[in-house]
């Protein structure tokens, strides 16, 4: 995935000279995850450069540069290190178009590696998506695999609106057989990754892979799970997800972020409004514990996994009778 992102940045910079990449260590080093590797060598220090170490400065100057005709793509080194830029993102990036009645627009992408599962010490594993999805004016995207990483980042860079681009860092090194460049479905659409008639597992980012593993494990027990990859959290493609849930009648929402007040709560609320008469059971949530992100040796207790997803599927009131012929256990 990291290579696909790198290629997307490279191709976007080659295609449009107003695209600039900057952040901490993105120049000579190529970023701590090497996503910007080689960009300075290819395009020079005026197009990809290191900034002083201050996230509000990176995002705040990007606002001014976007006002003057550039398309900045900035990197926050880790999820929790983006918080110093929070005021710039919520008070300015998200609002400038609105404040000026579209006289100013901000074509700006803020890339943020997010989530855990990499054994990182504190402040390196936050799932901060709900802060951004709760901010009108932001588009929040998160690819789950390499093809989407390429295609969605290219699309994000071309958007006239600011995008929070959340990269599931534990999938950076996932191997994938993808021919680049590639164009996948439009970024604002959710996509059914695996078809199944018994229940819908809704996931995004790193949890899509975990949900697919759960579906494979479930299949061995005769359970046909459908897996939907949200891809875009804001806007949220409620129609695609609701269509799936109306068919299966049962659903589980999975994310790494703490469950309380998490993005899953919004998904459950929307689906309940849209699919109530089709539901055989309350929609279940499988999320992280409601604790600050734990130290590496304890993170396995925090993170959703295949067993927790299947346990949640088990809890969907199957005693009423099989849905689609697949009652479990």
């Amino acid at each position: 995935m990291a290579e696909a992102l790198n290629r997307a940045l490279n191709d976007a910079m080659a295609a449009d000279e107003s695209v600039l990449v900057f952040g901490e260590d993105v120049g000579r080093l190529g970023g701590v995850f090497r996503v910007t590797d080689g960009l300075t060598a290819e395009f020079g220090e005026k197009r990809c450069f290191d900034t002083p170490l201050a996230e509000s400065g990176i995002v705040g100057t990007a606002v001014g540069m976007a006002m003057y005709g550039f398309r900045p793509v900035v990197e926050m080194q880790f999820d929790a290190f983006a918080y110093p830029a929070f005021e710039q993102i919520t008070s300015h990036v998200a609002k400038l178009r609105n404040r000026t009645r579209s006289r100013l627009s901000l074509p700006l992408v803020i890339r943020i590696p997010y989530g855990g599962g990499i054994g990182g010490v504190e402040h390196h594993s936050d799932s901060s998506e709900a802060y951004y999805t709760h901010t009108p004016g932001l588009t929040v995207l998160t690819p789950a695999g390499a093809a989407d990483a390429y295609s969605m980042l290219r699309e994000a860079i071309e958007m006239p609106d600011p995008v929070i681009f959340l990269e599931p860092k534990r999938r950076y090194w996932a191997k994938a057989d993808v021919e680049l460049p590639v164009t996948t479905e439009p970024a604002h659409r959710a996509v059914v990754r695996r078809a199944g008639r018994d229940a819908t597992v809704i996931a995004y980012g790193a949890m899509v892979e975990t949900a697919l593993e759960a579906a494979s494990a479930g299949a061995e027990e005769g359970l046909a799970l459908e897996v939907v990859d949200l891809r875009s959290l804001s806007p949220f493609d409620a129609d695609t997800v609701a269509e799936s849930v109306r068919r299966t009648g049962r659903a589980v929402v999975v994310h790494e972020a703490s469950t309380f007040g998490g993005f899953g709560a919004e998904v459950v609320a929307r689906l309940t409004e849209m699919c109530f008469h089709h539901l055989e059971a309350p929609i279940a949530r499988v999320g992280g514990l409601d604790i600050p992100y734990p130290p590496p040796k304890l993170e396995e207790h925090h993170l959703p996994n295949v067993d927790r997803i299947l346990d949640a599927v088990d809890s969907l009131q199957w005693d009423d009778g099989p849905a689609g012929g697949g009652a479990r256990r």
Binding site: K46, S56, G60, T61, Q88, D161
Partner: protein, 371 residues
């Protein structure tokens, strides 16, 4: 100047800062400021004319607020010379980044009053076209706009253009993180930005002495490796001359500069504030004697550049301007509720379209129910 701890008194010898630069003394007599030249009489008359207009506008806005025609007004009373002088140092193609207290600066920039007052009338957050006026929306979160100014100036430099940038800050805002981040980025990127700090002595109720231990706000610049300058903020001539010069130097590659303009907020923070709770009326007296308009008027009268007839003409023109503003603001415009959804994204999302339809329906019902 704030009092330095005794063991730090030597600081001022290492990095001395003299009195604020001044070209016209409070009593209207000419003063010499090293490196700054007294402009031509024609230029002085123009500064005077703009200052008279600025004051008239500020008084009018204060009155309109008392009458409930503005939701709130942070007055620039006493600080008009800062705003007029700094704005008139800009060329049309330069950019400025104002705060909520800079309505006078917007008027001086030429922005129609109705558009400039949109924020304070509660109609829309920014009523003017920033691209047309090369003026960013007025910024309320303190010092955050300084980073936008630096980014814009840097962008201009990357494009090989000589656009210079003026950003307004207050004394309180210098304590914010973003002010310091912006100074550092500007220095590293060598951006032609003038950080124009109106030191009006108060951040709402908190005096400068509780804001910093820096001997002056201009000293703050040194830590970032950029020049810091002090100017008499009640001397429009010195302000204009100094900011012009620093913008010019920035355009020729000298990078950013900090200007601390010493002034005084004659009014409360806004009409909703009560200054009597934190300062005495006597405290303002010396500043009445330092009034920016009176000193320039005295200087021009003494020199014979201004006579009674011309004085009255300028006053009458300002009165006509005020009257036109009053007329323009006389009718309340009901903002279109559909605009709530039109500018969140370049294209409304399905969610916003649904909410927009819902609100339209609610409003339709409300109109039907209305007697």
């Amino acid at each position: 100047m704030t009092a330095l701890a005794p063991h730090l008194a030597g600081l001022l010898e290492v990095v001395p800062f003299g009195e604020p630069a001044c070209l016209i003394a409070p009593d209207g007599s000419p003063a010499g400021a090293p490196g700054l030249e007294m402009p031509s009489d024609g230029r002085l008359l123009e500064l005077y004319r703009r200052l008279v207009t600025a004051r008239r506008f500020d008084r009018l806005a204060t009155t309109l607020t008392r009458q409930g025609r503005l939701a709130v007004y942070p007055s620039a009373g006493g600080q008009e010379a800062c705003q007029v002088g700094a704005v008139l140092a800009l060329r049309p193609q330069d950019w400025m980044f104002p705060t909520y207290r800079e309505t006078v600066a917007l008027i001086t920039r030429g922005i129609p009053a109705v558009e400039a007052l949109s924020l304070l009338r509660g109609e829309w957050h920014c009523g003017y076209d920033p691209q047309q006026w090369r003026t960013a929306p007025q910024c309320t979160p303190l010092a955050t706009q300084a980073l936008h100014a630096v980014g814009l100036g840097f962008a201009a430099r990357l494009k090989g253009e000589d656009t210079a940038v003026l950003v307004f800050l207050g004394d309180g805002a210098t304590s914010e993180g973003d002010a310091n981040v912006a100074l550092n980025f500007a220095a590293v990127y060598e951006v032609p930005v003038v950080f124009f700090i109106q030191n009006n002595q108060y951040a709402i109720s908190v005096p400068l002495s509780k804001q910093t231990r820096s001997p002056t706000l201009a000293h703050r610049a040194l830590g970032y490796g950029i020049g810091g300058y002090r100017v008499d903020g009640n001397d429009v001539v010195a302000v204009q001359a100094m900011v012009s010069q620093l913008l010019d130097e920035g355009r020729s590659g000298a990078g950013p500069a900090v200007v601390e303009a010493i002034t005084y907020r004659m009014e409360a923070h806004t009409n909703a504030d009560d200054a009597a709770r934190y300062r005495s009326a006597e405290e303002a007296q010396p500043w009445v004697e330092r009034d920016p308009l009176a000193r320039l008027e005295a200087y021009l009268l003494n020199r014979g550049v201004l006579d009674q007839a011309r004085h009255d003409d300028i006053a009458a023109a300002a009165e006509r301007f005020a009257s036109s503003v009053r007329t323009a603001l006389a009718t309340d415009v009901e903002p279109d509720a559909a605009s709530l959804f039109a500018h969140v994204y370049s294209r409304p999302t399905a969610l916003l379209e649904a909410e927009s339809a819902w609100l339209a329906e609610q409003m339709r019902f409300a109109r039907q129910e209305a007697p």
